[in-house]
Symmetry: D3
Subunit: 157 residues, 6 copies
């Protein structure tokens, strides 16, 4: 009763959302790719060996949003109505922000997090020839709206 994700034996299941209303929902997730000064300089100057790094990461993020139910075992397949991926080079790396929109029966937070993670992974792939120590940090939900639990904004870490 209190634990809808468990069946009576305590095992994982995909909880039934048939009775939930369809409502407009959004979620924004962020991630940061940290890299060497050299890699960042090449990226900012557009001189990375795999030059289209930001374009590749942006598209990989958009496409990954659509693959979320195939990656996260208990995620419901839901409609994906809009995706924005922003990639902003800064002083220590690249900040990634992914906003996803839907009108469906459950939240779209996992879709936003998956988009941010895969954009970050693809960025790593594009720069790993010049910096094999690059890493991803702070993959998190920044904001969500819609659904029964309503609005949520992350306090800064």
């Amino acid at each position: 009763g209190a634990l809808p994700h468990l069946d009576e034996s305590g095992h994982a299941r995909m909880v039934d959302i048939t009775a939930k209303p369809v409502t407009a929902r959004t979620a924004t997730a962020g991630a940061r790719v940290r890299m060497s000064a050299e890699a960042l300089e090449l990226l900012s100057a557009g001189e990375l060996p795999k030059g289209d790094a930001l374009a590749v990461a942006r598209l990989a993020g958009i496409q990954a949003v659509k693959k979320t139910p195939d990656l996260v075992p208990l995620a419901h397949p839901i409609a994906v109505h809009g995706v924005d991926v922003a990639l902003v080079p800064g002083t220590q790396g690249v900040d990634i922000s992914v906003t996803v929109r839907t009108a469906d029966r459950t939240g779209i937070e996992m879709e936003a997090l998956t988009g941010a993670s895969v954009a970050a992974l693809s960025l790593i792939d594009m720069i790993k020839a010049v910096d094999r120590s690059a890493w991803i940090e702070y993959v998190r939900i920044d904001h969500k709206s819609g659904g029964r639990s309503g609005e949520y904004s992350r306090d800064r870490r």
Copy 2:
């Protein structure tokens, strides 16, 4: 010549690895999922509403390794000969370590990073009902061996 990932117009491409030798290779990637004390306690006590959280994350990580070329646009599809996923609850969250093995023409680092990222995402999905602020940090390559560039071990951050 110097920039094998670019065609003559400077555009991204999948660089030709036909001439590279098949060699045994391994890569180990790590990630950490940070969560509230309450979520961690429920997880350690095996009382999370979605109880099989670690089992779900482990399988999601193994399966994601196989999906790397579908997620990372310029990644080569390569053989995947072995995958280990370890998930260790600690004082501030869960440490994830993914080791991948192959014998193929190019490195398997992206596969390890993808496995670690998706295991982390799946863990977030399993605990988000009790902690919607959980986040992922420090997704990185810890070790690799094999191939022309040989052995690499990460210095601690």
Copy 3:
């Protein structure tokens, strides 16, 4: 007219369901994996070499439900709102039951059958090192509700 799955030349097609109403629907499918007494004993004692056999099969079943339109050529892609997979070891093997729920324009029986089949296949994969003669039997719809054809319960074979 009478044969909606055929075009005018008698060829297979995906029949148009645009005009059908969205209604709540459920389907329950079952399957049984038969195995040696030794394999069953190891499984019941939790001593199978691939120990998480039931957890792996359960997750594989849930994920396969989502892949039904990719596996069954003429199946419509439909919403999947809930999935339960039960695995019950008995005297001759393991009984699998998969219940799927949706609110959509067509039935969800193929999704339930696909989930049961892939859970069974994954169980075979987990025990094949100790019993290479294990087999699957009696994959069938046990119950469905919703839609124009209404309720259906299988008579025992």
Copy 4:
């Protein structure tokens, strides 16, 4: 404002369709596979080495319609409610026509074009042993209905 597919920095995004109404829509796309007289004769006589060529192409087209959002990066995943694939051998090759139906928030033209293209590719695969010069031409939208832009019929080229 005027360019909904661009974010403020001019980058590609998946435009938000949450506010668009769900309406019934259809699209019909065509393609033509050109081949040698010998290949066409074998095909018409049902004597092609890979005899089921038309059946294989038909199913490949139906299945590809369902994969459109996985192939076309910025395509929205939408419901697919019906698919018809017609393959008509003529004097110079085989004419392919794919009609797709949905009730959703955006058009289904890309799904029809993808179905026609993949049916054509599969036909090439089936005849390439007897004609390695076969090619595809004139992949186009012939007709669409539904949605804000309403009815469209192609003028003959």
Copy 5:
């Protein structure tokens, strides 16, 4: 040591096959779809509403073989060098036999079983409008060859 599919904590993993030799291997799996006399008569007379039932099931089986590592969580992705699917209508239903061939580091039994299962599921989908009680039985390995464990032929059940 004795349990290669378990890591040191007893958790499932994809066992490392890097050191195993590449050898030619085959596996043949079978399955049977049971159906009503009416459905079988329509099928044998080629008068099923979804007439291409056998062709659809055959192609679905071939394609499913290629998807095995995506369906069975711990299965290794391996080369698939050849697939034959036979469907033989009999007195009580349709017998399915799938033979798969490879040259790789591990066995191809799961691929054969997956092909037989999905061919059977697709056949059910094609006849369910005329027989909603049809079921699948006896999904099993009939024969395998190659690899360390050598030849195996099933004793009749």
Copy 6:
């Protein structure tokens, strides 16, 4: 005997290539997207509403090469070692050329054709807001090398 793609009953199958040698192979396929003068002008001036059209099409083509065995039913899954996609705007549209490289047991022509087709489809998707009559023509193999049948170069149509 003479028709390796047919089983003894005349049905389609995936022909066994286990005994074929692994050899280096390449294939180059081309396609052309025809569009209005206005669309072409916006594209050449970099002022298309979906500005990254060429980058999106290039990545879609590379990724589609990897999905060929999932799209073309009887295609063997083979290694993909390198992919180049060139997109050249001309006076009547955009010329697409895709070169694919492998070392495997069978040809890579279908991979090249699939890459060219999906790059073209993605380009259509990017321009359809400004030209809904755009079409694809002349999808063909321009060149192949390697394998038993050796070198082939297309005569101009």
